[in-house]
């Protein structure tokens, strides 16, 4: 290693390059001992990040990334050696190859299994977040590769929940909302090559940010109904090819509809409900999340339940009741409860569609039986389920 380090600092440019290639090869080893053997070279790798030779810098960046993945000892050395400021200045490079490499290196630090409270505050305290936000929206100038890498970096920072308030104050929400809408336009235009790689971390960031309680400004910045449309466009586009994206979209949909009636209302008035119902026959997590979104809508009150009922939610629920997944059935029962609570006539229609039989199969299933019986007793007794039709009610009110 002493020899290699010497060659790495040679005054001969091509010797340096070959030494860099050697180090890069070594960094691919799965043996952490090899990564640790490369420790003497890290101060030089960091020094060279400020250089101008593109291919050489790129090699140094990837080498550092590989070494950082492999060994906690290496990561612990890189921090005091000044990797954070070195990265902040390297991020100003105009070279796409270098930026993409940095987008690989930075997550290796961010994803480190040791306490994120060590590295992340240093990252958040530096100029890195501002650079990351700039680069994540750069897909037009710098290509998708750079935007993808920094979107993932942002995701690792956001999902560590160290100081999302700081990121929000730096404008992360508006940046990502605009980006999401741009991506939706790209879907409409049919330009979707590799889009799922960028979309996934952006969705995750927005969902997690929306779940922050403070500051209020975050929720305000997200109150754009176009987000709802964008989410459905993504689900339609990627349902067949990249099904993992559907659950990511539904997570955002849940967080949008949980508290804010504006999104529940828009979902109904934009006629997006049928599309949501088409997701119910899918696999476990997707079905569960779709049902949760429906519950979010139903919980808003009678006006919402009426719309759900009119747009044929019951037949879909009858199908989900036939599934074997207890969690899915349980969530269906919760939805039924909300519907019957706010809209008594829904119960009568449920009965007339053989709902009792659909429930019967779960009567003896421990996690479900209490709720099944509660539904039967409260809403599905023949007398209790008689609907008060609007015509009869007004007739009754007329003076005889």
């Amino acid at each position: 290693m002493r020899v290699l380090t010497g060659l790495f600092t040679s005054s001969l440019a091509d010797v340096r390059m070959e030494a860099a290639r050697c180090l890069h090869e070594l960094s691919h080893s799965n043996d952490p001992a090899v990564a640790e053997a490369c420790l003497p070279a890290t101060s030089y790798l960091l020094t060279y990040l400020s250089g101008h030779s593109v291919e050489f810098t790129e090699l140094c960046v990837y080498t550092l990334g590989n070494l950082a993945v492999e060994s906690e000892t290496v990561r612990k050395q890189l921090l005091p050696q000044g990797i954070i400021p070195a990265l902040a200045s390297c991020l100003q490079s105009p070279h796409v190859a270098v930026l993409e490499g940095l987008g690989y290196l930075l997550p290796q630090l961010l994803q480190a299994t040791e306490d994120p409270a060590t590295i992340l505050p240093l990252v958040l305290d530096s100029a890195l977040p501002l650079h990351m936000l700039r680069l994540v929206s750069s897909n037009l100038e710098l290509g998708m590769g750079v935007a993808v890498e920094f979107a993932w970096c942002l995701h690792y920072v956001v999902c560590s929940h160290v100081n999302n308030g700081l990121l929000i104050s730096q404008g992360i929400v508006s940046t990502l909302v605009l980006l999401l809408l741009d991506l939706a336009s790209a879907v409409v235009e049919g330009a979707t090559e590799g889009l799922e790689l960028l979309l996934c971390p952006v969705l995750r960031c927005l969902s997690n940010l929306l779940a922050e309680d403070e500051p209020e400004s975050c929720k305000v910045q997200m109150q754009d109904e176009r987000l709802l449309v964008a989410v459905f466009l993504f689900m339609q586009r990627f349902l067949q090819q990249h099904p993992f994206l559907v659950q990511e979209c539904l997570w955002l949909l849940n967080n949008l509809t949980a508290d804010e009636p504006i999104f529940c209302s828009a979902l109904l008035t934009l006629d997006l409900l049928p599309a949501l119902l088409q997701l119910l026959p899918c696999s476990g997590t997707v079905t569960l999340l779709a049902l949760t979104v429906l519950c979010n809508v139903a919980e808003k009150g009678p006006a919402y339940c009426r719309q759900l009922h009119q747009k044929a939610v019951l037949p879909s629920l009858l199908s989900t009741l036939a599934l074997s997944d207890a969690q899915v059935v349980g969530q269906s029962l919760e939805l039924l409860h909300l519907l019957f609570l706010h809209l008594p006539e829904a119960a009568a229609d449920f009965l007339s569609q053989a709902g009792l039989q659909a429930l019967a199969q779960h009567r003896d299933n421990p996690p479900l039986q209490e709720r099944v019986r509660a539904l039967e007793e409260r809403y599905l007794q023949p007398a209790a389920a008689t609907p008060v039709s609007p015509i009869r009610a007004s007739a009754a009110a007329l003076p005889s």
Binding site: S10, D14, H28, Q81, A184
Partner: protein, 265 residues
Amino acid sequence: MLLPPGLSLSLQAERPLLPVRPRSPPRAPFCFSARRLRFHRQHEFFEDGDIHRHLYLQDILTNVTEVTERSKVSEFSCHIVGCCQVFDTLEGYEHHYNTLHRNMCSFCKRSFPSGHLLDTHILEWHDSLFQIMAEKQNMYQCLVEGCAEKFKSSKDRKDHLVKVHLYPSDFRFDRPKKAKSIKHSKPHFKRDVSVPMDVNVETCEQSQADSMEICPSESTENPTQLASGPIPSVQEKQLYKSRIPSTVCFGQGASRGFKSLKKKA
């Protein structure tokens, strides 16, 4: 999955908001209550997407290791005066130029890996005021970018680099300046066969006296060509040109002198 026709991203009219009933807690045995979900980094929810990401990365990383065949061009030499390095690929030239001619000190022609190290070198080696000020206050700046510490002497700085920043004690870009400033190579120069430029070459007065970077004049293109004896001086080198394509460069390059440091401040 069918979306309604005519769905577009621009919403023309204000959409009516359906009236909302105030929330009430769920009635047992029902437990649903709408809430925003937040997932922490290790959550299994992320598994599927993370796998997809991992596969994508594996694809990229194999591409970086491939040393792409660079298209060759007809041979050309470095245009910097005095540099006789010859290239047959543009990338080779670009790397050479960026390594040896960028960040070059216009006073002593040494090149540095970064502008930061060059600035520090110029300040400490070529600023006549520096030594005077250094007697009164801490002037030796830490070499790590982002660290604002300054020290009384280069030794103190080196101790700091080793202790706080875990730098190697023989960091090649931090060599103390000796009193004499060397401009020309010395005739007696013992070379270490295995490494062209190495801290072990302590017998060489010049290498000891040299600064924090690579001094081009120490190197030879091919370490095995020792038979030629001492490093030739600038004038002599030209006789060896055909035999030793060396990287001894005393050209102008993208060098900076003291002026730019003033501008920066």
